[in-house]
């Protein structure tokens, strides 16, 4: 027994010491010691890991960056193409809506024949309110034919060549249109101006005009067909000392954004010039 103890006492002490440490560790009594011991190891590991990751990224990133840049380029191109497509489709939608409106107007007046035309320019002179359209005598257009849109009266053709025509708008200073109130109360004359505003002239003083009154073309003078919407009275200017009263008129058509028009081709304007003294 003594011989055994003499031979293995060191191992026994070590086993007892190990078991004691294990018991202390399992009991949580060695946690501060472990923390203290592991802190420099973890710090070293972190330091090494960060450097390694940085070096790894530095070595591998050119390929990834190039791939990402290529992808960004592709996506940007795709985005630009789609945006351009959206703009194109929006434009087409507007054109379609416009043409649909014109078609609806043409259907609402089946007694007339129309030729649709696009506005392609304006008169170079700032004193005149004329537009140029892309249809001409080849399409059956003649001088004097009335021009309308779905909203109302635009003007009449002033000059024609084979594939284009010049239209004098009703807001031109040299334009005069015989009109009447929708209520049928009076007939008067609608004139344009330098600024593009239109006004009702030659209205007798005894007629009651009020804002909102609707103005239509009258057949008087033979220049325009009857009952085409021209605009609405905005304000009335009445002076006791004058023979006639006048009124500002809001045109039914927005001449600044005019893009497509209809030319009434079956209306033959009457030239009354020889009758004018």
């Amino acid at each position: 027994m003594i011989f055994v103890l003499k031979k293995f006492w060191k191992a026994g002490v070590l086993v007892l010491l190990g078991a004691g440490l294990l018991a202390l560790a399992l009991g949580g009594y060695l946690t501060p010691v472990f923390s203290l011991a592991s802190a420099p190891v973890i710090a070293t590991q972190r330091w090494l890991s960060i450097r390694f990751t940085a070096i790894y990224q530095m070595l591998n990133s050119p390929q990834e960056l190039a791939a990402l840049r290529q992808q960004v380029d592709i996506l940007q191109n795709e985005n630009a193409r789609l945006q351009s497509q959206v703009v194109e489709l929006q434009q087409q939608l507007k054109d379609t809506e416009l043409l649909y409106e014109l078609l609806r107007f043409a259907r609402s007046r089946p007694e007339d024949t129309y030729v649709a035309a696009a506005v392609i320019g304006r008169d170079p002179s700032p004193f005149l309110h004329y537009v140029i359209i892309d249809k001409g005598s080849d399409d059956g257009l003649r001088r004097g034919m009335p021009v309308v849109t779905a909203q109302g009266l635009v003007g009449r053709i002033d000059a024609v060549i084979a594939n284009a025509a010049r239209v004098q708008l009703i807001n031109d200073a040299g334009s005069a249109v015989n009109v009447k109130l929708a209520s049928g109360a009076i007939e008067a004359m609608l004139t344009g101006s330098l600024t593009g505003d239109i006004s009702l002239e030659m209205v007798p003083q005894d007629v009651t005009l009020k804002p909102g009154d609707v103005i239509l073309t009258s057949a008087l003078g033979g220049i325009y067909p009857e009952n085409i919407l021209v605009g609405q009275v905005v304000s009335v200017r009445r002076m006791e000392t004058e023979l006639f009263q006048t009124a500002s008129v809001q045109p039914a058509v927005n001449f600044a954004t005019l893009r497509a028009v209809l030319v009434v081709t079956d209306f033959n304007p009457v030239d009354i010039t020889p009758l004018i003294p």
């Binding site: 008169d123 170079p124 004193f127 040299g174």
Partner: protein, 165 residues
Amino acid sequence: MAVILGIPVMILVVIFQTSVFRSLVLLHGTADLVLLVIIAVAIRRHDTTSIAWALMAGLMVGFISGVPWFVFPLTYLGVAVLARFLSSQVWQTPVLAMFLTTLIGTVLSEGFQWITLRVQGVPLPMVESINLVLLPGLLLNLLLALPVYALVADLTRSVSLEEVT
């Protein structure tokens, strides 16, 4: 060569004038791109090129416009002659000649149009015409004078180079 080049260039300028610049309105005045190009060409080239360009442009615009056809050819010819005179005899600095001719040319051009239309019976009040059309148009022309001159200078320079080689 330069005269022939004037045909497509002036067609392009007239198209730009009627479709783009005529819609860019300040009050009721607009820039006259055709006039500016003619002045710039007349200042850059003292041969018959500017006269030919002015005549071509005048006939084109006169054909398109509702103003009597002779107004624009006469106006543009007069302005081209004036520009040549000012740049060769009075102002040796082309940019100053450009500005001065633009000033006088705009007044002449719009004044002549106004008189002709008034003679034809179009009711155009004088004060409104000056305040709402002439002065804003003049301002726009003066603003555009320098860029147009630079463009025309480049164009005439390239044409000259082609002629040399």
